[in-house]
């Protein structure tokens, strides 16, 4: 059985060819960061990370929306979800992420109306169907989910839905890359940029970053062969002393990206400073509702903006998401911190680097 648009990117013979090509190209040690947690999972799940040359180090980037959502925002979500008048909706991935004391699934078990949706537009439909309930959508994610979340708010506004709001914690990739490159401890010499973020945003905004920091940035997809080709393009550039942006994921990404989606994002959101879990505040690294749409801000509607939280001192999620440490270098990994009893979000999210190592890569 073959599946179009899937199997051609998982072909074992081609993979071997690329692995040989990469091995021949690499003459020195290099450290690459793949931005997106989905890419991390493909590397580890397909076992590719162990087939690459030893002198090539992959470090895992911050591109896990669940992982970078600050603890206090999860606590705010939990406070909103526990309110009797609220029907709280979220992507499935967020439900198990631990707040300071509990998680959304436990709030549901105690009687909170917490529902998993596949799209924020489903939450808008719920708000139409339940005019007596306050429907809240937990709007997290990178530039990938921002257009759909913007669309939900825009539609709710057009429909005049007074019972819909979002708890917003949108983050942006380029400022995080700048922060990582600007950190003196950073080892990263080249990036595999997140293909789906670039499908929305294009890659113009990466060009000045590549130039300023003199690094290669390869816009890369998520299938095994995408990643191998992305690695190859990055090491070829490094070996040749070249920097700049290359586009491996040309089947989905153009330089300008999806312009109508960007226009809708600009209509509903504005750039703001944003705290990243375990990393801290990165200037101009998030999206917040514009004043015109502030009525849809759940933090304001339910007055939970004052909730603050303290991270577990044992969790080194921030260092992992900046590529400073790998999951198995954490003293709590697999012992104090497991998917059943996570200390931090990277252990429970399906895009978290710690979860990838825990599920797919514990050595025999």
């Amino acid at each position: 059985m073959t599946m179009r648009f899937v199997d051609e990117y998982r072909d074992a013979d081609r993979a071997r060819q690329y692995l040989r090509l990469i091995a021949r190209t690499v003459t020195r040690p290099w450290t690459l960061m793949e931005i997106c947690g989905g890419q991390t999972h493909t590397f580890v799940k397909s076992g590719l990370d162990r087939l690459l040359p030893e002198s090539l180090t992959l470090v895992h980037g911050p591109g896990c929306p669940v992982c970078v959502t600050p603890l206090e925002l999860i606590d705010r979500a939990l406070a909103v979800a526990a309110r009797p008048e609220v029907l709280f909706t979220s992507f499935g991935d967020m439900l198990r992420v631990p707040g300071s004391a509990t998680d959304l699934l436990s709030v549901k078990a105690r009687g909170g109306d917490v529902r998993m949706v596949y799209s924020p537009l489903d939450a808008v439909k719920l708000a139409q169907r339940h005019p007596d309930r306050q429907v809240v959508f937990f709007a997290v994610g990178f530039e990938t989910t921002a257009p759909a979340n913007a669309m939900a708010v825009w539609q709710a506004d057009k429909l005049g839905l007074a019972n819909f709001s979002i708890l917003c914690s949108h983050v942006l990739v380029p400022p995080a890359m700048e922060a990582i490159l600007g950190s003196p401890a950073s080892r990263v010499q080249g990036f595999l940029a997140a293909g789906h973020v670039c499908a929305v945003m294009g890659f113009r905004e990466y060009e000045p970053i590549a130039a300023r920091h003199r690094v290669p940035i390869v816009v890369t997809g998520f299938e095994p062969l995408d990643l191998l080709q992305g690695v190859y393009l990055a090491v070829r550039a490094l070996e040749a002393g070249r920097f700049g942006v290359e586009n491996q994921y040309a089947r989905a990404v153009t330089r300008d990206g999806n312009l109508p989606a960007q226009a809708l994002m600009r209509e509903v959101f504005e750039v703001c400073d944003r705290a990243w879990r375990g990393i801290g505040v990165i200037p101009a690294s998030g999206l917040a509702l514009r004043a015109r749409y502030a009525g849809f801000d759940a933090a304001r509607r339910f007055a939970v903006g004052g909730i603050t939280a303290q991270e577990s001192p044992l969790c080194i999620a921030g260092q992992i998401m900046q590529g400073l440490k790998k999951p198995h270098e954490c003293s709590a990994f697999g012992t104090l911190c497991t998917p059943e009893h996570p200390l931090g979000a990277p252990m429970v999210s399906s895009e978290g680097a710690c979860a990838a190592y825990y599920h797919y890569a514990r050595t025999p």
Binding site: A12, S46, G47, G92, R96, V140, T338, S350, Y360, R362
Partner: protein, 357 residues
């Protein structure tokens, strides 16, 4: 099995025996033990399940038991929605328990059926479910010999919950147990994985695909019986990968046997549309539930004949050897990926949740 809700059933009237004009819905009185309870039992349950052991409507059933060891199992069924492509809660409640017996190497003798009905359940729905159960039991060659009915207040159930217990006999010469897997054994899978879980999910979440994905719900005692008749003790382990999917079932075998398992991803049968649905939803098919598939761990010298036997059966024509038992990494399951790398196949932690992007 897949069309129990629609196909004509010759041995039963299609008309619900509790006339709609009387009680279109289940009421609390149907569980009260009085006249309505008796009417429900006699006109619906007895009519559907009629057999000599059930007929006396006594507190329990008395059975003749052939030689061998007894196998006993119980399972509760709480599926939502009650009706789904490829089956319903009734057929599932029969198949699941029959399969649990079959995985012990037992030939199913009899089932019990306990119903917890929610007040307000349409009587017609109950009749469809009971009829489907009766048909599934008949097809599997097993009788429902005793049962129980309770009704709970509206809002305290999900339409209907069913518990079935099963009793079966393990014939002499059969010895299957997870601990019997040993290095060198081959791991066979009877067909494609993840159909059931994806079928349920697509109905529950209103996801439409180009073609309907149907549950694989089926009774496995026939195909398993054939394997055991031919190969006896050289069949070491039988396991149906239900909740938790293939990943959990193989991990349980590895843990019980204190041996390692090595699987080949490319050998695991998976329907294109199910694979596509899993790709879209971000689910790993290894963790998705099956209700009509089983794993057989067999001695290496009978792997060929075992595969041929499975493939000759309608429920096993896509059977495959998907891996082997190894002495290395005891208790752990590894899989060679499509691309040629090795990965751990871990137990599922909690439920699989679709990801954000």
């Amino acid at each position: 099995m897949s069309d129990a809700g629609n196909a004509p059933v010759e041995y039963l009237g299609l008309q619900c025996p509790i006339p709609l004009s009387e009680y279109p819905q289940v009421t609390l009185a149907h569980g009260g033990g009085g006249r309505l309870t008796h009417a429900l039992i006699e006109r619906m349950f007895l009519a559907a399940f009629r057999n000599p052991a059930l007929e006396p409507l006594h507190d329990g059933a008395v059975l003749e038991v052939p030689a061998g060891r007894l196998a006993l199992t119980t399972d509760s069924y709480v599926v939502s929605p009650l009706f789904f492509p490829g089956g319903d809660i009734g057929s599932l409640a029969v198949h699941g328990t029959v399969n649990d017996l079959a995985m012990c190497g037992a030939r199913p003798l009899a089932l019990t059926a306990g119903f917890v009905l929610e007040e307000g359940l349409p009587m017609d729905d109950l009749w469809r479910i009971v009829r489907s159960m009766a048909r599934a039991a008949k097809d599997a060659g097993v009788s429902v010999v005793t049962g129980d009915t309770k009704v709970v207040d509206r809002g305290k159930g999900d339409g209907v919950f069913i518990n079935t217990s099963g009793i079966g006999v393990v014939p002499p010469g059969v010895d299957v147990a997870p601990a019997r897997a040993r290095p060198g054994d081959r791991v066979l899978l009877s067909g494609r994985i993840a159909d059931h879980g994806v079928a349920i999910l697509s109905v529950r979440e209103g996801l439409a695909f180009e073609t309907t994905i149907a549950s694989d719900s089926a009774a496995l005692n026939g195909i398993v019986g054939g394997l055991l008749d031919a190969l006896g003790e050289r069949v070491h382990v039988l396991r149906d990968p239900t909740r938790g999917g293939l990943a959990s079932a193989t991990n349980e075998i590895a843990a019980s046997a204190r041996a390692g398992l090595r699987l080949e991803e490319t050998a695991i049968p998976l329907a294109d549309q199910v694979r596509g649905a899993c790709e879209i939803l971000g689910l790993d098919p290894l963790y998705v539930a099956n209700e009509g598939k089983f794993l057989a761990v067999v001695a290496p010298e009978v792997a060929g004949p075992a595969l041929a036997l499975l493939r000759a059966h309608p429920l096993g024509h896509e059977a495959a050897v998907i891996g082997e038992v190894v002495a290395e990494h005891p208790g752990r399951v590894f899989m060679r990926s499509r691309i040629g790398g090795m990965r751990v196949v871990d137990m599922l932690s909690g439920e699989q949740l679709p990801r954000i992007c």
